[in-house]
Symmetry: C2
Subunit: 460 residues, 2 copies
């Protein structure tokens, strides 16, 4: 038993032995996330309430043992991958929906609640929680808060941050802090709520989440527009927003994505199209109908071929095709380097052009799709990590992609966060001063540096 | 010349003598805000660019002289009122709109730009910046950022925080930091942007603001609904949101406010009404028409008497009446203690009932109006500060109001901030732990405590 956490057993016994495992296989399973990186934790603890979280965190702080909070491990950048000998604090046992308050349009949940599970429970009552990351059927709301998760609906409804009204947080010394609360407006003191949203588990452990919810829109309509020229699709995106329409989703797929999906499973997408837009509008029946008509006109005027999903079945089929991109891509190559850059919306054509150039320069296949409505492009470099020479070229392509993104006033991550995979690039976007201030904030919360260390900043 | 800033003249000359005034009258004018509190600054500096702000702040930091950033001084809680011998840093000279980027729906402004001025420039181009504090024709966007200003449209469109994409900030040691940027999504590092929004000038000086803008809605329609029973008005608020309609404004006036406004200037409001709702919807012409019809039905079903503004003139008249509340109230009593509590929307009737009880208990007149749509009630205790006995009773009523608010899961400030006037109450809402964390964050930014000291926290 060489585990760090038991080193000083005499001084301080581990607080929750009945919730703790050091089983090798279990530690393996809780040691990686969707980034495919693998850590070597020393123990896994599954607390069931705030008090238990507090006990474990206080213990870790006293022992100066790193502690890594974890949801479903669907993060793309290694945020939940532990440094060596860390304690994994899995919040999946804290999965109760504590309250759905229709009158005040608030839901209170524990961090282990699955996003899709809350969505279902709300929809049954005619209510709506907009953030919809692709992993919504298995990712947790605690993880969504840690990463400030987005999704296709963000273009109209915003991201996780826009729905978190308050948090209960266990601080790195074990104290419990409440931020915000049950009101839609609050300017009492600093906005710690939104500081903690997106902090990747480095400032504390979220144990309770107060969410704003909305009434479920009466109607949703889905349009599929295909284009022979990429630029026409990009012009359509601007045309729609200039017309004052904010669709519920405004998704983009390039030729390579369409092809990959059609080769994977035939959904009936036109494999020769250069680009495709998947557009959804919502609102009252009449408003959705009106917006659908206007959007169809804009698409047609820009040489798009429009089809409108006639029923729930057709809608589901279109979204299935969209969600199939990720698995489909693995048919091209076994390794996917997945970035989620954002550029100001009007600069999408320029960025796609840069990506084409980078793909040619390094002779690597790049497949692009994503949330065109907010300029958020998922850039996928398809490679094989066992082909060292190609993998190196792919790595160089990543650096060029980030350079081009920043040149266009963009950001290197819109949804996935920094974690481990992007920390060496953070200095390309943030100045040394900004990083110093962030580190000072981290130190203010976590002077001993036990809370999810090694993430976000290089050499930290 | 007893001014603190000149004490160590030999060591370090004041950096911008040509932009600095120590004129007594000018210092008087820049020493108060809408809270009516008055400070005694030692100097007034009016920088015109970021570099000048940086020089002055770095100087103040070296001398350990307090520095107080200031916009138009329209704040209600004394946030811009200087501690004794502070340097006032007036940003009103930095008032350029640097960029309106229609393609990417972003505006870049200096902090001294008047909110209403930006609104006008945008509307000319068919664009829209939603946050609309009552003082919008003279308050500055820098002040709006410092206080996280709201307004009637917040119920649909959110508050200032929801539109700030990035900031340029001069830190308390004079370094310049950029946060966020020109993209709608960004998860690179901690969300310092939203930490600084609402920080009341205590973490740094905002010198550039990147704002999200929207297309101007095609149509706006305005309804006025009056009620014989307060509870029917409150039920209407819930009825509208339950029907899935999110109006652009959902304003409430109680009987006393209606009476005050009618006595001030006859707008034709029914002086015998117990309550009034001022509701606006926007969107496409058809969508606005549809929502107007639905809302009118809901109001009628709850015994409301509905009138719809037929033209621009009628709309303006209704809003004039709404904006006349503040000046009208001074006809009742010379001193207005103005709170801006928020309760979860469904608890408005309960809160109004509590307010009635408090008014009777302390025998003070309380007038209520505000943003019913988001539970934000402007509670005005009308008194006379020269009548010490009554003024003391009013002070006790404030404490009871905050107690009742917190009991109903509310917050003591939704829009106005803490500043000086509410700092002794902050511990009623926030725990000692939360306040300690906030103070640690403050210290991380401003170890010497020079940046707008004495605000937000008691004994700090």
């Amino acid at each position: 038993m060489a585990f760090n956490i038991f080193k000083k057993k005499e001084e301080s016994a581990f607080p929750l032995p009945e919730r703790t495992s050091t089983d090798k296989e279990e530690l393996f399973c809780y040691g990686f996330d969707a980034s495919s990186l693998q850590g070597e934790p020393s123990a896994l603890v599954k607390p069931v309430n705030t008090d238990e979280v507090s006990q474990v965190v206080a213990f870790a702080n006293k022992q100066r043992t790193p502690i890594v909070p974890r949801g479903a491990g669907t993060g793309m950048t290694g945020g939940a991958v532990p440094v060596k000998d860390a304690i994994i604090l899995s919040l999946d046992g804290m999965n109760r929906i504590l309250e759905i308050d229709e009158k005040n349009m608030i839901a209170v949940v524990e961090p282990g609640v699955i996003n899709g599970h809350l969505q279902e429970k709300l929809e049954e009552r005619g209510l709506f929680y907009p953030p919809d990351p692709a992993s919504m059927s298995f990712c947790t709301l605690g993880g969504n808060v840690a990463e400030n998760a987005g999704g296709p609906r963000a273009v109209k409804y915003g991201v996780t941050r826009d729905y978190v009204l308050g948090l209960e947080v266990v601080l790195p010394d074990g104290r419990v802090m409440m931020t915000g609360g049950k009101t839609y407006k609050n300017v009492v003191g600093y906005d710690l709520t939104r500081l903690i949203v997106g902090s990747e588990g480095t400032l504390g452990v979220v144990t309770k989440i107060f969410l704003k919810i909305l009434p479920l829109p009466e109607e949703t309509m889905t349009l599929l527009c295909t284009y022979s020229h990429l630029n026409d699709a990009a012009m359509t995106v601007n045309g729609i927003t200039s017309a004052g329409i904010i669709p519920r989703t405004l998704e983009f797929m390039d030729h390579e994505s369409i092809l990959a999906v059609e080769n994977y499973k035939s959904y009936g997408l036109p494999a020769d199209a250069e680009a495709l837009l998947l557009i959804e509008v919502d609102g009252s029946h009449n408003a959705a109908l009106e917006d659908t008509g206007k959007i169809a006109s804009i698409c047609n005027a820009l040489n798009g071929s429009v089809s409108i999903a006639e029923d729930m079945f057709a809608k589901q089929r279109i979204w299935e095709a969209r969600r199939a991109i990720s698995p489909a891509l693995y048919r091209i190559k076994p390794t996917k380097i997945n970035e989620d850059i954002v550029v100001p919306r009007g600069k999408i054509p320029e960025m796609l052009n840069e990506l084409k150039g980078i793909s040619e320069k390094y002779n690597v296949k790049i497949v692009n799709f994503g949330h065109a409505g907010d300029g958020n492009i998922h850039v996928n470099i398809m490679t094989d990590k066992h082909d060292k020479e190609e993998y190196d070229r792919a790595g160089k392509a990543v650096e060029d992609i980030f350079k081009a993104t920043i040149k266009l006033n963009g950001t290197i991550s819109g949804e996935h966060g920094i974690g481990l995979t992007k920390k060496q690039y953070i200095g390309m976007e943030l100045s040394a001063t900004t990083i110093e201030v962030m580190k000072a904030v981290k130190k203010a919360f976590d002077p001993n540096g036990i809370m999810n260390p090694g993430k976000m900043f290089p050499n930290f």
